[in-house]
Symmetry: C2
Subunit: 212 residues, 2 copies
């Protein structure tokens, strides 16, 4: 297995967590996003979306972090990352999608570049935009995690899983952009619990071969 | 079953297609987004994200369109919307996520309102932004659908499914904003195939009780 990744890509970070939780080994193929490596023809041939991650499973290329993690959970079922019941699976998918659809797409570099480049907004306006969408997503996420009885030590019960794979990289990004997280104690608590685990440490940006 | 929906919400439209393909009947609860009904306290109590759709399954509230559709497919398995093999499931999830994570979040009303309101961009700049992200997503989507052997009459083989539930509402939105789709013949062809089916017609915005 080969993972096309970049240290600071939070979508790649999600998949690295899942691979580490499963104890799966893989070849790390670095795609240097700040240097534009994702737009080189050889990478476009691998992923026409010019994004990471991509998982090369030998015969197949797999795209989109949340689809890749579900594939891994189906093909390498131990330890399970999704619950055994349909409602539970729906719940963790909805928590992960809240991060992946409502927060992350608005704050990734190509969007921020459009705002500062083409639309000419200031650095201050860019930071305000960034913080706005993190808070707009974390506010309902906090409420759900705090209110719903399925929340445990982690997002769903007492074992780390699918939703935690999405939560931790988003918290890392929020911290990098200095978002005040004091209004989100449950998110912070779960993130702290995750970071105690070796799998999450192994997957962290600063522990990747292309960290600089 | 009760679906909180709004006619022109493309996320709700995805779930309406899945319900119609499954032949499931449901109560339609309209949430008038342009009038701000999603921010009323009674709706915030149902969905702290202030978004549609929500599926009320009697004992449980289900969030996020792609999670809801997968729940429906697991609990009401006929006809199946996801393939039987893990790679196929990963493929259709990645196609749906391409739409749901890379296009739709950038172009929904709350984002456009931030751009025109807080950032003061012009109507022309807003349209350019809209078209830009549709094309940025449709270009790799077209390439994948055109190149990958799994594509058939629909996104995956010759039966409509999960990826089509995401594709058709996004094409409807692109048409509403007059995006030129001539560079995306496979997307247009599959959309046309879908719209021949009664389930897709039944789910269309103009056939909802709150269409105006």
């Amino acid at each position: 297995m080969k993972l096309y990744s970049f240290s600071r890509s939070s979508a790649a970070y999600r998949v690295r967590i899942a691979l580490a939780l499963k104890g799966l080994s893989y070849e790390y193929a670095s795609v240097n996003l700040p240097k534009g490596a994702q737009y080189q023809p050889e990478y476009s041939a691998i992923n026409p979306q010019n994004l990471v991650p991509v998982l090369d499973e030998g015969n197949q290329l797999l795209y989109q972090s949340l689809a890749i993690i579900q594939y891994l959970d189906e093909v390498y079922p131990e330890p399970p990352l999704l619950p055994q019941d349909a409602f539970g699976r729906s719940r963790v998918r909805s928590l992960a999608l809240l991060v992946a659809c409502e927060i992350h797409p608005l704050n990734n570099p190509r969007v921020l570049n459009y705002l500062t480049g083409k639309l000419g907004i200031s650095e201050e306006q860019k930071l305000e935009w960034y913080h706005h969408w993190v808070k707009a997503g974390f506010t309902p996420l906090e409420k759900r995690l705090a209110d719903e009885p399925e929340t445990g030590r982690f997002c769903h019960g007492d074992a780390p899983g699918f939703a935690d794979c999405a939560l931790v990289p988003q918290v890392a990004n929020a911290n990098r952009f200095k978002v005040d997280l004091s209004a989100f104690p449950t998110i912070v608590r779960i993130n702290d619990e995750c970071l105690k685990l070796e799998a999450f440490q192994k997957a962290a940006p600063q522990n990747q071969p292309d960290w600089d």
